[in-house]
Amino acid sequence: MEAGAAVSVIKDGDTVLVGGFGMAGMPVELIDALIGHGAGDLTIVSNNAGNGDTGLAALLAAGRVRKVVCSFPRQADSWVFDRLYRAGRIELEVVPQGNLAERLRAAGAGIGAFFTPTGAGTPLADGKESRVIDGREYILEYPIRGDVALIRAHVADRLGNLVYRKTARNFGPVMATAAAVTIAQVARIVEAGELDPEVIVTPAIYVDRLVPVEVPA
């Protein structure tokens, strides 16, 4: 499927999960297609809030994002987010990285909420329910569900089974489980049966649309 057609499922107001840790695993072509598609008022859930002027930063610069949920917005080259945030033109929810990953997993796994030790006793626990279990303090965190997930994997088979490459795996597998519609850009699509069933990381049940994107050699 072509990237533009794939992302046309995204509607104004949607929550979009965007894979990647820095550029590793970032679905750049899908984000570009989303910019072209034009949906706005989006909530973006991703580890960072854009770098430089491309990808997520370009989506933010285009004024399409109402809110960012991430662990680490502030980086050397996050000037687009910084400007919008300081101008009061974008909302921010900062979530510790492991709680972000676990909240996404909870959404995919049907867990209603969970007690995590991360963040207990810190300002990020303000207003959250807390509880001491076996002498340790935990805070209660809720799932983060996406309407759509945009992820990048390495190879897919035609059914949608995915394998990843090295640390580009990062948020892809959990985001794929946490969204109503998961769109994966991949370097290559092979026939069903060509991927060893033992090594598939994301089973096809979690993947709705595949977009082949050639990788420059």
Partner: protein
């Protein structure tokens, strides 16, 4: 004489038992890797999804799909493994790592850690994996200069900066002394170019000079 950053990294590396699983935080802690013996059997974890991380990648080794938590290109050692973010942070949160090493703005006498925010009103909050690392290892080692640029000690009775984690720090490696933080207080493990008396006079934290058991 007080320690250089390089010497601090050497001291920390010396204190990591052979065979440990270790996460090196962004910045100064990454320097510790340079001082681990190749035969130490120490395995490095990077929270973006890898055990068995090797040295920084250079030249043709650079692969944009293989980075550390600081998003710098790294290499892979034999016996490495990759996993996704939820699995990676489950590994941390579940207490499977032996040691996390982090920088700090402040550490309190009870092991509270403040290293993610100075609480400045105009700052953009950004925590990354700091809070997960703080609670995510059997031991948390902090590396920092003992005094801020304005001379204020960073080992304090109580943190004034927003906390990253409570009661989580077990060792504090600084340029002038190494401290062990235990339930009975803060002990001086070693000093570098400063006397115990001077340390005590410059820090508002009650210190125990006896060797850590």
């Amino acid at each position: 004489m007080s320690l250089s950053r390089r010497e601090m990294a050497e001291i920390v590396a010396r204190d990591i038992p052979d065979g440990s699983y270790v996460n090196l935080g962004i910045g100064q802690p990454t320097m510790v890797a340079d001082h681990l013996r190749p035969d130490s059997g120490v395995t490095l974890h990077t929270e973006n999804g890898m055990l068995g991380m090797g040295r920084p990648a250079t030249g043709g080794e650079i692969d944009p799909d293989l980075t550390n938590a600081g998003k710098q290109p790294v290499t892979e050692l034999p016996g490495a493994s990759y996993f996704h973010h939820a699995d990676s942070f489950a590994m941390m949160r579940g207490g499977h790592l032996d040691i996390c090493i982090m920088g700090a703005f402040q550490v309190s006498a009870t092991g509270d850690l403040a290293n993610w925010s100075t609480g400045a009103p105009d700052a953009i909050p950004a925590v990354g994996g700091a809070m997960d690392l703080a609670i995510g290892a059997k031991q948390v080692f902090v590396m920092m200069s003992l005094f801020a640029k304005d001379g204020q000690p960073k080992l304090v009775p109580e943190c004034t900066y927003p906390l990253t984690g409570r009661g989580c720090v077990s060792r504090v490696y600084t340029d002038v002394a190494t401290f062990a933080v235990g339930s009975d207080g803060v002990r001086i493990v070693e000093t570098f170019g400063i006397t115990v008396d001077e340390l005590i006079s410059r820090i508002g934290v009650p210190l125990v000079s006896s060797p850590f058991p």
